[in-house]
């Protein structure tokens, strides 16, 4: 049996003496599409921060394909093939769309800190950047500074930066938040296409998106996972109905 893509074991996280994440246990199989749902403030983004190395767990471990990553800095976790997006758009605002995506391609393409290569001559980097650019539908906006994009375009760029490096474990934090219905639909089909064959963990509030996209769902309430299962199991789970879904699912 292959190791799970992500495994969170007994993770606790407190800020000061406020315990935000309690006894968190979660296992995501390789190639799985996993949705993390829960009310605002439940700790979903904090969970992503813990996995991606942005913050360190107070106790417990996180493993990536069987290797422990808790305690590593974000860039080392990223180099091991895990990439995340942010709930609040977090791009290189003064740089063009093209440059944003290219920055996300460089490390995996093996160029690291090199200062002896002309970046315009790196054909693979250029091709990969152009590919991602067209994947996220921003080819016409290539030279626009990221800070001047519309909200939906910035969200698309956020996803583009996240997947550009070719990581095979992708965490997306509310990628469709604040989008119109049509934009959400477009974003979801984009996500579906771009994460084909990869492991995806997605935080999402739109239940139609969650039930349509996810293989399995975990419900986080007050920093604790109260249920994990297939969409059908979650839909019929009485604890979930009570704690979270309520009228929304009815």
């Amino acid at each position: 049996m292959t190791a799970p893509a992500i495994e969170i074991k007994d993770v606790q996280k407190s800020f000061g003496n406020i315990s935000i994440i309690r006894d968190l246990n979660l296992s995501v199989a390789q190639g799985e599409r996993h949705a993390l749902i829960g009310p605002n403030g439940a700790g979903k983004s904090t969970t992503f921060n813990l996995i991606s190395g942005y913050i360190k767990p107070t106790s417990g471990t996180v493993t990536l394909r069987g290797e422990e990553i808790s305690g590593l800095p974000p860039y080392q976790i990223n180099r091991r093939g895990l990439s995340r997006s942010f709930q609040v758009t977090n791009v290189f605002a003064n740089m063009s769309v093209w440059e944003n995506l290219r920055c996300a391609v460089l490390w995996t393409d093996g160029h690291h800190y090199s200062f002896w290569k002309n970046i315009d001559n790196l054909k693979q980097v250029r091709d990969r950047t152009a590919q991602v650019l067209s994947d996220i539908g921003l080819t016409a906006r290539r030279d626009v500074p990221a800070g001047l994009l519309t909200y939906a375009e910035q969200r698309a760029l956020e996803i583009g930066i996240t997947i550009a490096g070719g990581a095979d474990v992708i965490l997306l934090d509310e990628p469709t938040a604040g989008m119109s219905h049509a934009e959400t639909e477009r974003a979801v089909s984009l996500i579906r296409r771009l994460t084909e064959g990869r492991t995806l963990v997605i935080v999402e509030h739109d239940m139609s998106v969650v039930f349509g996209l996810a293989d399995r769902i975990s419900v986080l309430v007050y920093g604790h996972i109260i249920a994990t299962g297939t969409p059908e199991q979650i839909r019929s789970d009485p604890k979930v109905k009570e704690a979270y879904l309520g009228e929304e699912a009815a």
């Binding site: 800095p73 460089l106 290539r142």
Partner: protein
């Protein structure tokens, strides 16, 4: 200059673009070559040499400030140490008759700058922002005070000197005459500009911009922002060392002023005034500030005061510096609407000049009464003679300041409106930058 000036490079430069690009370098090289034929006086050659040195130093500073977003208050440390080591190197080479010609000696300065940046930079580049700025200031103080304590190496107040003409000669160049120093500086300046420009076109150079924009996100695309800042710091140290070396060769002396706070402030000043957002910004700033400081110091004894005021004005009204100001006109120029704003500029110029003249009268009079109150009140500044104690001077100054300001403010408003109209038309014609 579009290629050099643009901060966002085209992803796939066409052949014609590349030819244009190399054309610029060749043109610059030719210009440097013929410049002494046009302005051949010793004073002009010295000015050009100082400008070249300042260009290298300012560009090296902009690797930090403009490219990587690191505000340093102590960049002169690497300039100064480069200068000192080069003076020692010249003395050692001369004394031992080593077969090393002067033109390669600036490399010693560069390597010195690199060495100390590599040594001192690891801790300071851990963070950007205030922490980095404060550490740079602390390191600068430390080095500057050691320069006064370690007398054998730094020569105390007097500094140390060397004779650059006693080295191994290539093509019979003694490097005694200023023209030869000019060519030495010009060659190094051109090389350094090309190298630093090339650096911005590498993966590291691009990631420096990313760290400047958003160090947090950089970590999530696989890069350690600390390493990026550190490498940028090392490159900046290297080129600062080259600049310091050329200064030491030019003056044949190095003293503690080389690594002091004034020198660190001056490079910040030049770079910022030129414009940190563009590669050519520091070049423009270095030319402007060096030329202005040389000419202003002839015109008035308190030229630093005017520099300070000018700096405040740039930070307040033109945060993009001179280059930013010029680049603002690009859409108008390309959209063919520049002509719409030029008359407004000319109209605004008259009351603005009156305001400036009034300020100069007031400043010079106040300086006279505070600095040398006992002296003859008939003073001369900016070629104007006037009596600093006469009420007429004060009335004229007041009139120029108040009247100039009131009228100027109205003309600036009109300028802003004309500007908006011109920009709107340019945008409608499809020119955004």
């Amino acid at each position: 200059m579009t290629e050099l000036a643009s901060s966002v490079a085209p992803p796939n430069p066409a052949l014609s673009e590349r030819l244009k690009f190399y054309g610029i370098w060749i043109a610059v090289a030719l210009l440097l070559l013929v410049l002494p034929k046009i302005f051949g006086s010793g004073g002009a050659l010295t000015t050009f040499s100082l400008i070249g040195i300042s260009i290298i130093f300012s560009l090296s500073y902009n690797i930090l400030l403009g490219q990587t977003g690191l505000l340093s208050f102590g960049h002169a440390v690497y300039y100064g140490l480069g200068g000192f080591l080069v003076i020692h190197a010249i003395n050692i080479i001369g004394a031992n008759k080593l077969p090393i010609p002067l033109p390669v000696v600036p490399l010693v300065g560069g390597l010195t700058g690199l060495f100390f940046a590599a040594l001192l930079g690891w801790v300071s580049t851990q963070r950007s922002g205030t922490a980095f700025a404060m550490i740079s200031l602390g390191v600068a103080e430390l080095i500057a005070s050691s320069a006064l304590i370690l007398r054998t190496f730094f020569g105390g107040e007097a500094g140390i000197s060397a004779n650059r003409t006693k080295l191994f000669r290539l093509f019979d160049w003694s490097f005694g005459p200023q023209i030869q120093i000019y060519y030495l500086v010009a060659a190094w300046t051109l090389l350094a500009i090309i190298a630093m420009y090339a650096l911005t076109r590498t993966p590291l150079g691009r990631m420096c911009n990313a760290v400047r924009d958003n160090p947090e996100r950089v970590q999530f695309v696989g890069y350690d922002p600390h390493v990026i800042r550190y490498l940028a710091f090392c490159f900046a140290g290297f080129f600062a060392g080259v600049a310091g070396a050329l200064a030491a060769i030019n003056f044949e002396i190095a003293n503690s002023a080389y690594l002091g706070a004034v020198q660190s402030g001056t490079v910040l000043f030049s770079t910022y005034i030129g414009g940190v957002g563009y590669f050519i910004g520091p070049i423009v700033g270095a030319i402007f500030v060096t030329a202005l400081s040389l000419s202003l110091s002839d015109l008035t004894s308190v030229w630093q005061l005017y520099f300070g005021l000018f700096f405040i004005a740039v930070v307040t009204f033109a945060p993009g510096g001179i280059t930013g100001l010029l680049m603002m006109h690009r859409p108008l120029l390309r959209g063919g609407t520049l002509g719409k704003v030029l008359p407004s500029y000319l109209i605004a110029l008259i009351p603005t000049l009156a305001l400036v003249a009034g300020l100069i009268l007031a400043i010079e009079s106040i300086v006279h009464h505070t600095v040398n109150p006992g002296d003859d009140p008939n003073i001369k500044a900016f070629g104007m003679s006037f009596n600093a104690s006469s009420p007429i001077t004060w009335i004229i100054a007041l009139f120029l300041i108040v009247g100039g300001f009131v009228v100027a403010r109205e003309t600036w408003r009109r300028l802003a409106r004309a500007w908006d109209d011109a920009l709107t038309v340019a945008h409608e014609r499809g020119y955004h930058a």
